[in-house]
């Protein structure tokens, strides 16, 4: 049974009385298998968030259906297995980090020692143990995103939906969230995320869908979509220039392949930043 099944989803929003309704999502179909990380990418206003909200029952589809592990999204019980982190979330400022997780845990039926353990476990997972008794009002943007991710995981859902999880977060915080998503994947949790930060999506997703003006214009396995089928990459370490020249000559002699270029691969600016600010070599 797929974790997420969206079939021919259409969502129109009323504008003014005389004007045509605005079609935010136009015949979108997405299937996400359990354990996959699916990235929905697209420019602002392309229908990403509306698709997610329809999946969570926060908006009612004009037509089409959404289901989570086979349960209709418009039914409350479909939410038992879902955690959701909205874009730019703000939690109750009067609560501390631990109280926030306790509140959401109680809403999901957790209590007593189980809840207490779960709260401590999640605070450790998102690296907020030091801020557990600090009011949310004093949290930075990155901390808010991480506590948001923790609340999404509180009832140990099988599906986590993340709407722009790294929006407005600095590269360090962004890396932490990326690592958390990878941890979730390792634990077999299905992740459905939407973002317009393409590099991040590329790093974590198994499947992607590109949405534009409400329509899915491309979808499939990430590696299949981005592979350049007629090219081959060879990366050498400590290769002397003579060896490179020899290989190039061999390729030219073969006549069956074209030597395109050689040179030193470049790291990304993000990796450079992370290495300089945290000693991270990855």
């Amino acid at each position: 049974m797929p974790a997420v099944e969206i079939r021919h989803l259409v969502k129109d929003f009323k504008t003014s009385l005389k004007r045509q309704p605005l079609r935010a999502v136009d015949d979108v179909s997405i299937t996400i298998e359990a354990g996959e990380v699916y990235g929905l990418i697209g420019p602002n206003g392309s229908g990403k968030s509306t698709t997610m909200k329809a999946l969570l029952g926060l908006v009612v589809p004009t037509s089409g259906t959404c289901s989570i592990f086979g349960k209709d999204s418009l039914k409350v019980d479909s939410r038992e297995d879902v955690g959701f982190l909205p874009e730019n979330p703000y939690f109750y400022k009067h609560l501390t980090g631990a109280e926030t997780l306790e509140f959401y845990g109680k809403l999901c039926g957790l209590r007593g020692a189980v809840l207490k353990d779960r709260v401590s476990e999640l605070l450790a997972l998102v690296d907020l143990e030091g801020a557990r008794d600090r009011r949310i009002a004093g949290y930075s943007k990155g901390m808010l995103q991480r506590i948001g991710l923790a609340q999404a995981l509180v009832q140990e859902p099988r599906l986590v939906i993340l709407d722009e999880p790294t929006a407005g977060v600095d590269p360090l915080g962004s890396r932490q969230i990326r690592d958390l998503i990878l941890k979730l994947r390792d634990r077999g949790i299905t992740v459905f995320l939407c973002s317009h930060l393409l590099e991040q999506v590329q790093e974590v997703c198994d499947q992607v869908g590109i949405i534009f003006k409400g329509k899915i214009v491309k979808s499939g396995r990430l590696q299949d979509l981005i592979a350049i089928e007629d090219q081959t990459e060879i990366i050498l370490k400590d290769a002397p220039p003579e060896l490179v020249a020899e290989i190039e000559a061999l390729v030219k002699r073969s006549g069956s392949a074209e030597w395109l270029r050689s040179g030193k691969p470049r790291t990304t600016l993000e990796r450079l930043f992370l290495r300089e600010t945290s000693g991270d070599e990855s």
């Binding site: 909200k53 969570l56 029952g57 926060l58 908006v59 009612v60 409350v76 019980d77 939410r79 038992e80 879902v82 955690g83 959701f84 982190l85 909205p86 874009e87 730019n88 979330p89 703000y90 939690f91 109750y92 009067h94 609560l95 509140f103 959401y104 109680k106 809403l107 999901c108 039926g109 957790l110 189980v114 353990d117 779960r118 476990e121 948001g148 609340q151 999404a152 009832q155 140990e156 939906i161 634990r187």
Partner: protein, 309 residues
């Protein structure tokens, strides 16, 4: 991850979680500061120096006037506080959750929308109940202290003037009726019921309103209209005989159906005057309160269940 899957969760417990959270949220907004203000008013009324108080006139109605004054000065701020808090805090909670997107995270959990609405309302009602209980306690203490002084003065003056025991006892009974009676507790309960109705109305308006200000203003308008609801109802029932137009009658009928009848709560003024509240009156008020709160909450649910975020 070591946590077990969530156990089946009773609806009552979930309502209690949401209500408890709404209560904490309001308490941390420091609404209880009002209690300090109330205490100052109460104490001031207790020491209010009536010109007639110091003479032998304290023997008769003036001693009782003082007790009436304390009740009036206490129940007035209680009504003001509970209605303002009931409306404003309810009007604030829902839009704030939408604006901060905390509503998304709550409704993305297995929380039915009715539970969310009812939980929020119950949180406000809990706040009103606790606040009124504390104010009631203050009022009863002040009233009891003053009552014992008045009774003492009356007894000694009555004896010095040679009144017979029956006359002194009769005056004593009249004075006791102005003290902390069950009827007075009924009046405090009526204040709570009225504020609960207003909170439920504010909840309904906030489900379709786009701003806290709009919800607050409209709720206060309904509060005032509620005091004329009974007049509209009488106009409807008696209108035909009076020869008024059908349109006017239907307008009056719609007013009497949609708006609560707050003239039922005039009993509070009667209690301040020392009259008693019959049990049947209290039961009527309670049932009317339950009816209005249930109707407005269900109406809120109808609007909120189809709302998109």
């Amino acid at each position: 991850m070591t946590a077990r899957k969530s156990i089946p969760f009773s609806r009552v417990r979930r309502l209690a979680v949401i209500a408890g959270h709404a209560f904490t949220q309001l308490v941390r907004m420091k609404v209880f500061y009002f209690l300090g203000f109330f205490a100052v008013i109460g104490i001031a009324s207790n020491f209010f120096n009536l010109p007639q108080q110091s003479g032998p006139e304290a023997l008769g109605d003036n001693g009782m006037d003082l007790l009436r004054l304390i009740k009036s000065w206490s129940l007035g701020p209680m009504t003001l506080f509970s209605v303002v808090m009931g409306i404003v805090s309810t009007a604030l909670l829902l839009p704030k959750d939408v604006e901060d997107r905390t509503l998304y995270t709550i409704l993305a959990k297995p929380v039915p929308r009715l539970d969310y609405l009812a939980g929020k309302l119950m949180g406000v009602l809990l706040l009103l109940f606790v606040s009124l209980a504390l104010m009631d306690l203050l009022m009863v203490i002040m009233l009891q202290v003053r009552l014992s002084i008045v009774l003492e003065v009356q007894a000694s003056l009555g004896q010095s003037r040679g009144w017979d025991a029956a006359a002194i006892e009769s005056l004593r009974q009249d004075t006791l009726a102005q003290g902390p009676t069950w009827a007075l507790q009924g009046a405090v309960a009526a204040v709570f019921i009225r504020s609960a109705i207003m909170a439920a109305i504010a909840l309904l308006i906030s489900t379709f309103s786009s701003s806290t200000l709009f919800t607050t203003v409209v709720s206060f308008l309904i509060y005032f209209i509620g005091h004329f609801q009974a007049d509209a109802r009488d106009f409807y029932f008696e209108g035909g005989e009076a020869g008024t137009s059908a349109a006017s009658r239907y307008l009056a009928m719609s007013v009497s159906l949609v708006f609560p009848d707050f003239q039922l709560f005039n009993v509070i003024d009667a209690v301040i005057q020392g009259k008693t509240m019959q049990l049947i009156q209290f039961v009527k008020l309670t049932l009317a309160g339950l009816y209005y709160v249930a109707v407005y909450t269900i109406a809120s649910w109808f609007v909120f269940s189809d709302k998109e975020f």
